[in-house]
Symmetry: C2
Subunit: 195 residues, 2 copies
């Protein structure tokens, strides 16, 4: 029997996606499930909802709460967290690089990007920053490849699939047709995959 | 030493508040905490964010997900749930009635209103429906009192306090100055109160 899979959908600019990226592999492994990292872009999805910025910037009360909530949760999990000096950071180059990465290295690259953005306050929209992260993982040439047509096409396809599946935020998890939104729904997604 | 208290903030039209209303008393009692039911109105808070309807209606993908998420969670908890034929229902008369109720009966009345709306699909914006619920709880005259100046004033004060505390959605929980948003944050609010 094939291992049941969970798809983990995220945008590198998404704060709560950082929480999930740090724990989804261990949580799925413990449950005997495979997980696929699927970066996509929230920008076009937010634009379709009439937003030209993160809702956390557009709705200040919600934004203030999110930063506090995130700091509390990260502290509770012992996860390093520093509020980025720029939010949201551009995430499309990082997402294309992730799609350009070989499958076995994709999750590690994604974790490195999230850590750079949300623990080390580095500009993950910058090609040189991404290149350094890729080099550290033994993936030279990844950022150059991210500029190519193939990587662009894969990211566009992922974003279109996210929209078609009804995603409206990140992180999201899908198990077959079933959608779960938010880091706080990871356990439910896992339970669903184990039914 | 005084028992540590959690304030439970909600709007009777709020779907996720139904989930919390059904479990907050037992969860707090088990943790040795007191809970205060504090109905307020989301309408003025949403209006300040530029919304003239529930975000679940304004953003259809989010709305579709919410109904599915709610049904899954209710099923998992064995909580009766039927999608109301009208959403959101007017909640201001019910909220004023809740504030008019004697303190010892407030939580029970609130639970009855939530059950009527989200399990029995009854129009809790209707004075007769609310009156029947109040009668069942031995609270005749409650709805008449809800029309009075005192109840209006108490609801207005609660909504203003909610805004001042930075609330932007429901359910929310406050422990001192600390804010927790969403039924899925109840456990964190309880843990915070126990620190």
């Amino acid at each position: 029997m094939a291992t049941q899979e969970i798809d983990f959908w995220f945008d590198f600019a998404s704060t709560y996606s950082y929480l999930s990226a740090a724990r989804v592999e261990a949580a799925c492994a413990e449950a005997g499930l495979a997980v696929r990292f699927r970066p996509f872009l929230l920008g076009p999805i937010f634009a379709a909802q009439g937003w030209n910025d993160s809702p956390f910037n557009l709705y200040p009360a919600k934004g203030r709460y999110m930063w506090r909530d995130l700091a509390r949760i990260a502290a509770g999990r012992g996860l390093p967290f520093r509020r980025p000096s720029q939010f949201p950071r551009r995430s499309s180059l990082a997402a294309r690089a992730a799609w350009a990465a070989p499958e076995h290295a994709r999750a590690a690259f994604c974790r490195a990007v999230f850590t750079a953005n949300f623990a080390d306050d580095r500009d993950v929209g910058d090609a040189q920053v991404l290149d350094a992260l890729a080099q550290d993982l033994g993936l030279p040439g990844l950022v150059a490849e991210a500029e190519g047509a193939t990587a662009r096409k894969r990211l566009r396809a992922a974003t279109e699939e996210a929209m078609a599946r009804g995603l409206f935020g990140a992180p999201s998890f899908t198990v077959g047709e079933e959608l779960f939104w938010g880091d706080d729904r990871l356990e439910q997604a896992i339970a669903w995959a184990q039914r």
